[in-house]
Symmetry: C2
Subunit: 196 residues, 2 copies
């Protein structure tokens, strides 16, 4: 039996992400993708059921990879401020070091595909976050809040800063680059609002 060339599969995935980031979902055609990955169109269908399955599989994989890295060195038992900072740093590092994947996930998240993908993501992350927030409130390091309010205040500013960074420009169209100092300034503001 001939063995699978796993390099082919990952090259297909990588090229698919690149094409979507560059030209949107419109820009991903199976034949162009085959050409870019230097395989036959039929080869893609060995690894993926169809176009939809390809996009969905890649999306779920990318989200899970990011989630995993977000939790690196993090524990829900950490003191609130330290834990939140860890997550901010992990997220910022991942998005900034992987801008192509970042844009891909952004695009998936805010498209009809995002809904489908959402259901297939590991629930582990959600549970860990719930524990982290629960601990922080119990220890009176965090004011009691609805999960969604907490999430919005605690993380949305970070994602907006990263969005500015990825776009390469800020509010008034001047160029913008996210650095540690800016990140810390924003983080302190967030902590100020969340601490009792």
């Amino acid at each position: 039996m001939r063995i699978r060339d796993e390099k082919k599969e990952s090259l297909i995935k990588q090229k698919a992400i690149e094409m979507i980031v560059k030209h949107g979902f419109d820009g991903l055609s199976m034949q162009k993708l085959a050409k870019a990955a230097k395989v036959s169109p039929a080869t893609i269908y060995i690894y993926f059921k169809d176009r939809e399955d390809l996009i969905e599989t890649i999306s779920v994989e990318e989200v899970n990879t990011m989630t995993e890295l977000t939790l690196k060195g993090f524990s829900p038992d950490m003191p609130f401020e330290k834990g939140l900072k860890k997550q901010w740093n992990n997220r910022a590092a991942y998005w900034i070091n992987n801008p192509v994947q970042a844009r891909f996930m952004e695009q998936v998240r805010f498209s009809p595909i995002g809904q489908k993908v959402h259901c297939k993501i590991k629930q582990e992350f959600s549970n860990i976050m719930r524990e982290f927030v629960g601990n922080a409130i119990r220890n009176k390091e965090l004011i009691p809040l609805q999960t969604e309010v907490f999430w919005s205040v605690a993380y949305a500013p970070l994602y907006q800063l990263i969005k500015f960074h990825l776009d390469g420009r800020g509010m008034h169209n001047e160029s913008f680059q996210l650095d540690t100092k800016t990140l810390n300034t924003a983080f302190k503001l967030v902590i100020k609002s969340l601490k009792p």
Copy 2:
């Protein structure tokens, strides 16, 4: 000379938005759109140069409409907290009352088209915001901050809450609906972090 049936134009636009929201940019084909709007495919090309122009035009229009409504009853001379609250309410009202347009803009914003659209949006809004923030800092109602940090802390939480609302579910997959009370809670947290 035969006159333009403006109902046709707006129906084309509306159906285009609906199709994109439902099926993504992939789902917008000119022939399907023509069928949905009950016109000939050729008619669409009377109003728009090509598919790209169609999407771009609609995007710019929608963003400008939203921006206009965001500034309703707002003035950069307002006291900081009052002005920010006004904008939060205006934004929340628009996005919640126009969920289809909201999803459309979301999708545009986080796709390669977003970049092109960005350049063609009225600069008026950006200038008014700059004035508002400048005033607030001068009056010591707002701590001095980089524009992007201010924007991230002041508005990103609102948009995240709206996103939860549009998705219809929150962090842990329970159903979620944004109400005035939740909005106010989040707003107070934001104010707490931004006030000197």
